[in-house]
Symmetry: C2
Subunit: 129 residues, 2 copies
DNA sequence: ATGGAGGTTCCACCAACTGGAAGGTCAAGC
DNA sequence: GCTTGACCTTCCAGTTGGTGGAACCTCCAT
């Protein structure tokens, strides 16, 4: 299967798939004409990557997960460990964002938002904590 | 004031402050010896930047906010508009993360996490939606 | 044989820094 | 007056995860 068809099926841009080959996440076969030829297994791998990336796993985490995925002798605890660490990272990000949100909305609450220059948002940002 | 002292006071690495000069966010004066010399106003600006960045505003948004900050004739509504857009962006990010979180924890719930190879996380990621 | 839709490589760019090398400056101590 | 070490300078390269574009090749239908 050529790259365009693969791109359509897994929902990744062809450029991204080429990039994934560049960094050795997939190794499609090459046709004598130079075109990449993808097998079902490659498709499966790319689907895996696409889903894992959508969950926010970094490329390196994806690489580790992919290695486990291909290793029939892995222990599910190894996978769960990575997943758990990632879950904790997500939670950290959420709480970071929520604390930003609170600070920002506190600043906004006091801002009239009219045509006067006085603005607690700007003055709040300018002052050291 | 030299860059090291400024860095300590505003809590930004010296490298970052040099970078901010590079992209014209601050324009410290230069001593005849080539050293950057920062005024109180520069300090104030850098504090502003540090706080705004900590709230997740991009550099370009910071630049816009800084311009408003320096413009005594701005309307507070202009500031609030930027802040509101940013708040919405934060909310989008939070909900993206929460949906990732749900997907991941659903996958994890079914994974035994023991020494067996069977792992619903990996099989869940490999299958198209 | 020609046109257009695919494919290929390579190079440059994005954000927002960070690390490191190579070298200049300053102040203190001997 | 010289050395030492902390601090400063510039410049170049690398990070993450791609994306855009140019120049060129290949395939298929007409």
């Amino acid at each position: 299967m050529n790259i365009g068809e693969v791109a359509k099926r897994v929902g990744l841009p062809a450029k991204t798939i080429r990039y994934y080959e560049d960094i050795n996440l997939v190794r499609p076969f090459r046709d004598p004409n130079g075109y990449r030829v993808f097998t079902e297994k490659d498709l499966h791998k790319l689907t895996f990557l696409s889903r894992a990336r959508a969950l926010g796993f970094t490329i390196e985490k994806c690489r580790a997960l992919l290695a486990l995925w291909e290793d029939q002798t892995r222990a599910s605890s190894d996978v769960k460990k990575i997943a758990r660490a990632h879950l904790e990272e997500i939670d950290r990000k959420v709480s970071d964002l929520q604390s930003m949100r609170k600070t920002l909305s506190d600043l906004m609450r006091d801002c009239a938002g009219d045509d006067r220059a006085d603005c607690p948002i700007l003055s709040g940002l300018g002052e050291p904590r």
